[in-house]
Amino acid sequence: METFLTIVLDGLQFSSYLFIVSAGLTIIFGVMKILNVAHGSFYAWGAYTAAFFIGKFSDMGTPDAFGFLIILAAAIAVGLLLGYAIEQLILKHMYHRDEVLIVLATFGLFLVLEDIILIAFGTDPYFAFQPMALLGSVELGGIVRDVYGLTLIGVATLVAVGCWWLLNKTKWGTLLKAVIYDREMGISMGINVPLVYTMTFIGGAILGGLGGAYIAPTISVAPGLGTEVIVLSFAVVVVGGMGSIAGAAIGSLIIGLLRALAVHELPQVELFVVFAVMAIVLVFRPEGLFAPAKPRKI
């Protein structure tokens, strides 16, 4: 029982992390049909920016609670600056190109951004433990957990609800859905697609940054932390169905819980279980478990 509860909590915690990171990826894919490898860089940049400033401010003696503001600010800053720059300077000029080629371009971007991090922040790991220390820990299911880790679940839920609300309850959402469903239709409906694209990419980038920024306090922020995230979020997005928020949520849950189970019961398979799921889903349901509707074109 204890073990079960722990596995579920671990799973949920990891799922939440996966969801925050992959939500941005899936939105970008849904709207722009771009599988953005550089998404891992948004994550890394988010983590670094947050860790860097949390450290700086607490050195200046500002209260630790301030850290949460910094996390949010870091995510938004990274999304706005990096997202906007990449969309305007690179992707904008590629929309007419083959989608696979765009994936490759983002791969190139990823390589570049990884090293810019090194140049900007150096090789020394950053620690931004303050927010985590602030919230302390609780006893849950017989073991101690850090509250901060648990709040991750809350944040993920917020992101999910936020996306759902944006898509289903706002004018913007209807426009987005139109474009997601059929780009040409969107244009013919007089939607300013380029603008929609820019906004979407920035939005996705912010979510990617948020993933990194929020996880930063729990890890040592060191070079190369973006690499793993990419394939993980790919797995999530593929399992859930590329371009579907609900899918991303389900995908995160499946993968998160499975991995937690593996770590507790069969540590050897922890790493490959994730991708086994991804492969199986691709084979039996290529469009993913929650694929968004596609227009019929004959």
């Binding site: 000029h93 371009a105 490959f272």
Partner: protein, 313 residues
Amino acid sequence: MFGDKTSKFVVLGGLLIILVGSFAPNWIVNQFMFGFSRALAILGLMVLWRTGLVSFGHAFYFGLGAYAVAIFDIKFGVTDVFLRLLAGAFVAGLAGYLLGFIMRNYRDIFFAMLNTAISMVLFGIVVKTEALGSTDGFAISMSTIFGMSPESKYPLFVIITLVGILAALIVNFYLKSTYGRLTTAIRDNEIRVEYLGFSVAHAIHLKYTISTILAGGAGALMAMSLGQVDPESMINWTVSGELVFVTILSGPGNVLAPFIGSLVFEVLRTYAFELAPQAWQLIMGATFLTIIFFLPGGIWSLLEKFGGKKNGK
């Protein structure tokens, strides 16, 4: 049959490089060995790319080839170059043929993704299994040639180059066959190909299998010329990315392109790494973007410009 210009130049060029290698310093020979080993895989990816398919997971077959060499070395003490090459190509080819039954039904992103998934599964298994060397991988004993163990790397270099020549010739011929010509046709319009009475699935299956055999061979040769295999640098998704990178860099224009491309890549990386140990990825990435943007046809298209006349596929 092999009388066309490309074939002639493949043979001539290959022999010339073998000659150059005989008095070039070791490190250059190494660059050629690494370059040409990888080029085999690129040759296969080129065939797929012409069909409009990009695999983001061919490190799976590259890795299989490399690890086949390692396992056969450790478990059965197989050291003969040709046996090792055969083992690598066969294992990867077999896996490719079997997976091909699934892969041939996928296109675009899904094709790329499924390949990634498969390769990451292997990565996960190898990294977590001590018997497979986990993160360390294995050191590979020096290769022998018909029982003789050569003093220098030169013989291996010659063999790699010869294998390269052979592969280039075969692929070049394949591309001129009906099957080969179908590559672009399938990319353009699958429906028409089916209506012309040809199974697109079969055509793609064949291309896929070819590409996996080549990738496996490449992995095997790479393992032999390096003397080391490990998952991070043989199976991880970044390796697949690297392979695609070199494919784009080379360009699909001609079977010579992969060899030139991979050579350029090796040199580029060596110097990038030497000049900027902390920013070599940046240099690679920037180059990659530049190619995608300004040189869609890869280095080959550049050579064609110099060469003037467009070279028919």
